[in-house]
Amino acid sequence: MRDAACILIAAVALGAGADHAEQLPTFRSGAEAVRVDVLVIDGSRPVAGLQSGDFEVRDDGIVQRIDSVSYESLPISLVVALDVSASVRGDRLASLVEAGEGLVDALKPVDQVTLLAFNHAMLRVGPTSDAAWIRAALRSLRGSGATSLRDAVHAAVVAAESGVGRPLVVVFSDGEDTTSWLDDADTLDTIRRSEAVVYAVTVGAQSSPFLKDATREAGGSLLEIGSHRDLKATFVRVLEEFKRRYVVGFTPAGVPGAGWHRLDVRIKGRRCTVKARPGYFR
């Protein structure tokens, strides 16, 4: 606790302290109310029409009373994090740009999108609802440099949770992380402390243990596809799946206050696959 206080003092000295005049939206871990983004699948199809009485949420094993369930009604705060390192050139880059445009086209006007292109550095455009701005930025991308995947995922999660809406991060990478400062543990810690759902798409690369862990901890999925030509369809499928997720809210009761809370979400009386983050920090 003393550590935390000192850090906050130092942060203020750096100009990074909280501006209390500016209120963040309620999508954040650590608040009293907890919101869990939940995907319910029956076979391969998302299940629609569920009500709060259909869900059972356990916090550290204790059944919780559900305050709210929403479906398809909340705006999205999307961050598209694209690896444009040296290996992403020519047709690969063209497919990636097309996929990014497809993702932007599938958003509603109330949604916001941030483009975070990265190699060993980062370029951010947004958050914005101006699709034309994002399209222009996508078309200006050129592949170069090395890959700082973990650093970019950290920045993408921070950007997503700073937006107004349900935070979603879609990460594309086709290679190994060569230049990140943050390690797996650092970045997974950021993810566990965030409500952002993270999906990752890789093409032809060796399976990324980091992205596998990151997407699992964020309640998303790692999609490994064989060809860049499938990128657009995959990106759009990710967004469509995200739109069919439920946001389940509850106020923790009967559980310890601080630290990691293990979450278990089930559907009563149905054999469904439920995908949600495995826990949260309070």
């Binding site: 550590d3 130092a10 550095a121 980062m122 951010r124 090395a146 400062w181 060796q206």
Partner: protein
Amino acid sequence: MVGVCLLVLLAVSRHESADRQAQARPPSPASLTPGTLVSYLAIIEQHRPGETDEALAAIARWTRSDVERAAAGLPGRLAALGATSGRASVRRFAYMAVLLHTDAARAMAPAGTVAEAVAQLEIAESRLAITRQDPESDQFARTWYLLAGGFLTGATQLGGESLLERAVKRFPDSADLLLASGALQEVLAGEEVQRISPRSASQVDAAPRRTRGDRLNRAADFFRRALALDPTITEARVRLGHVLLEQGRADQARTELERAVAAAAGGEGANRFECYISQLFLGRLHQRGRSVEAWKCYEAALAIEPEAQTPRLALSQLLHAQGDRDGTARLLEPVAPADGSALEGPPDPWIEYRLGTGRLSLLRQELMAILERVEGGDPGAGRAGTATRR
């Protein structure tokens, strides 16, 4: 100089009837017949070192056996042309061939053809062998080994071990090569690299698969040997500190890293680069459980390089763990401003530490300087350059 090379071309072409048409004017690299010396010489002559040009595309189409067939019997076939070329031309041919194949490796690596890039470096290395081992050639070879080893360490990560082993065997007293060898082991010990499957790695690296622990031990040994030869190589001390940190020897790591920081303050040859990297590693050392100390170290790194992204990422991660979302976002704002227009972050020595691109540029310049001295007939061509210490 172009005239000398055209004379070489003309002379060689008398022995290579397949390339008679090349005598009239400089041929297009793409039109040359693979596997003949005259074509090889034409490509070498037309390549502009450091650039990605038609000559690189042409040599990339040659198989390794094409190159070996063209270069078979060298330097005898060139020496036979003594009246027009002589020793200086043999040396020049070798240096330019080395630069051609090194550039070819550089051009191939980003496309993912790592095995081909390594093969190009091996061809480049074989060209070194046709010059006599004298101070000038030694200087060129030592500098090239640093360039090639650094390139493999930074860009492709695998494939450099056997090359640097040969380099250290040839130059056992080079602290720079020991440092480069240790840096390669340090990279190969990385968790990300260790995850690459043996099957995948075998496609790009004939070196044995070693465990992370073995790699770290080897790295520490190289750095200690470098420091024994020259205690003022602070970068070796920084990297030794990092390796000790990775080995879980926190106290020893802290000692080495703090010595590196002190060396900077004491004017013992360290500079901002070493001081910055040391502060980052000290931050990491403290990060688990001593957040305030970690914060101070990352702040110190940020004070050294206010534009760099790495200290901001480290600080933002600490702040995020404390639940300060606003502060986290503000810390990252300069890293990726909301209206970014180009994917070029400000210089960050951490990236240089990992990739060594700035150093590679200096090494390339040093090779070019040696080549220019050969072309100018400068007897001092073998004197020490700027990018290597010894």
